[in-house]
């Protein structure tokens, strides 16, 4: 077998192992090790490749800040800023039909500007928004669907861990990627809001027997007390990035410090809570970074086999054209999203795709936004929608099944598909803001 054949077989075996239930990083490592061993007929060399990747793959400043972005998200949730965002947004939209649903979307959009991970949003708003919506007569299925759907805003609206990951993989400016995420993120929020109002008017049974009084309003002072700290944090994080006080990479640390200071000043954080958050951050970081290490081994193995370059020339000869290629790519990402988590998909596919699309003169920042959008649709689709599992675990209510959450999230997955189509057709939605 030529190295190219071995690379293809390794790809196939990796997919089968992952489907069968082997831990994803272990599957990647096993295939890389055996693949290189067979290609070079040298086990020692294959071992050295694994060892080098374990030691160097994440040894860079960019990866160093991954835990800080995760930490920022968890501190902000623990300090109750998610509840504040929800109170403000729910009061603002309380006169709309389906107002609490729209409020949840709005709160998620605000929250997304101070966190960079979807699972933080999903966990926070399951605890805050779902009970509120159910109290006001919304069906559980609709309530969890709204939370699942709008949690994806966390990854689209900057700062965003997935966009950082893409920036590292494709060697693109993270600042540009952050700016490019704003347009599609806001568009998603608008689509979700209109979708909810449309559902409330056209198919009221689908959202439940909602009482017309959408909860009490807030006084001007309440708005200030609840909205002020969040607005301050958003100003600190986004303002700091765009005035150049700190880099996007440092924003995670600054946001975490800001949230920590506010949380302690407002007596909303205890040392015990901080410790719990730190341990949780550690577990998430380790899981993501271990996966990155494994994916680096795998992409080094693939590079040795020549498969990515081969796929590039194959795509060129097949004359798929821009649209054919992008449609196939998005379909593959969405299908993978049904069985894998977002970072795994990006780490596996992006190195394969880069040699294919680079000669086509495609804007890589735009390509990153398309990738993250498509990946996030997978978060909502069975059987492996990570957001859905987080919601299920946070709810801890056996009367709401996984099936209910997936069904509730389905309309939002459809709306995301529409937004994805729009970003594909009109790249300026993403790239228009970049100077």
């Amino acid at each position: 077998m030529t190295p190219f054949d071995i690379g293809l077989v390794a790809l196939l075996v990796m997919g089968l192992l992952v489907l069968a239930g082997l831990h994803v990083p272990i599957a990647l490592m096993v295939c890389s090790f055996v693949g290189v061993w067979l290609m070079r007929d040298n086990a020692e060399l294959a071992a050295r490749l694994l060892g080098l990747a374990a030691n160097d793959a994440i040894g860079s400043y960019f990866f160093g800040v991954v835990p800080l972005f995760v930490l920022m998200g968890f501190i902000v949730s623990e300090a109750g800023f998610g509840r504040d965002a929800f109170d403000v947004a729910a009061a603002m939209f309380r006169r709309l039909k389906g107002g609490l649903g729209v409020g949840t979307v709005g709160a998620n959009a605000i929250f997304a500007a101070i966190t960079g991970i979807s699972i933080a949003s999903a966990a926070v708003f399951t605890k805050i928004a779902v009970p509120q919506m159910r109290r006001h007569g919304y069906t559980p299925r609709f309530a969890v669907g709204v939370v699942a759907g709008s949690s994806v805003l966390g990854m689209m609206i900057p700062p965003s861990l997935l966009l950082i990951l893409f920036g590292i993989l494709a060697e693109q400016s993270i600042g540009d990627l952050f700016i490019a995420g704003i347009g599609p993120g806001l568009l998603l929020a608008v689509f979700f809001s209109f979708g909810i109002v449309a559902m409330a008017i056209l198919a009221p049974a689908s959202i439940g027997n909602v009482d017309t009084q959408g909860g009490a309003g807030l006084s001007g002072r309440d708005y200030l007390a609840k909205g002020g700290p969040i607005a301050g944090l958003i100003l600190l994080v986004l303002g700091g990035i765009y005035t150049g006080l700190f880099t996007p990479v440092e924003a995670g640390a600054m946001g975490a410090i800001g949230a920590l200071a506010l949380g302690f000043a407002m007596r909303r954080l205890s040392l015990a809570a901080l410790w719990r958050v730190l341990v949780e951050t550690g577990l998430v970081t380790a899981t993501v970074c271990f996966l990155i290490i494994a994916a680096q081994m795998y992409s080094r193995m693939l590079a040795l086999s020549g498969v990515p370059a081969g796929m590039g020339s194959f795509a060129a000869e097949a004359q798929l054209g821009f649209w054919g290629l992008m449609l196939i790519y998005c379909a593959v990402v969405i299908v993978l999203g049904m069985i894998l988590d977002s970072s795994s998909i990006m780490l596996i596919l992006v190195p394969l795709m880069l040699p294919v699309i680079t000669p086509m003169d495609i804007d890589l920042v735009w390509f990153g936004i398309v990738t993250v959008l498509a990946v996030e649709i997978g978060l909502l689709t069975p059987p492996f929608g990570i957001s859905v599992y987080v919601i299920k675990a946070t709810l801890d209510d056996p009367s709401i099944t996984l099936g209910d959450i997936f069904a509730g999230a389905a309309p939002f997955a459809l709306m995301m598909l529409v937004v994805l189509g729009l970003v594909l057709a009109f790249p300026w939605i993403a790239t228009g803001l970049i100077p």
Binding site: L19, H23, I58, G64, V65, G282, L283, T287, L340
Partner: protein, 171 residues
Amino acid sequence: MSGEAARRDPVPLRVLDAVTQGLNVVGSGLILLLMVLVGVDVAGRNLAGAPVAGVPELVTLSIVAIVFLQIPAALRAGRLTRSDALLTALGRRLPGLAKALESLFDLAGIAVVGVIVYASWPMFLRAWTRGDFVGAVGSFTAPTWPVKLTLIVGAGVLILQFAARIWRRHA
């Protein structure tokens, strides 16, 4: 790591879990330190007009340590990424086969992390004997061997946690 389950575990497994948690605590502390370091760097640059020497080097070094300190705890908590739909379905029909497959998967984990330890050992020795460091002489330097040692210790405990999964399954 529920207390109930831990109490019923045999002594070696309880010791292993305690060690795993110890590494987890050190790793969590490092994350806090990382946050402070980046904060000090930004403050130093904007307020004092001078970046703090060595912050990028320390951040770069510590992330590798953090990951390998926490990964055994992640495996123990069932957080390592996987898609277990098929295994769960198989477990309902043929529980014996599902168990065997799970253990085979854990053995694969032991083997491949073992390869990493095997390949990392000479890297640690070289860093130790030659006194490898990062940074620039005169302003800031930090030795690289502690990180390489942490990697080996973390990966070692990860191997033991994979073995513990097999033990628990078949005990």
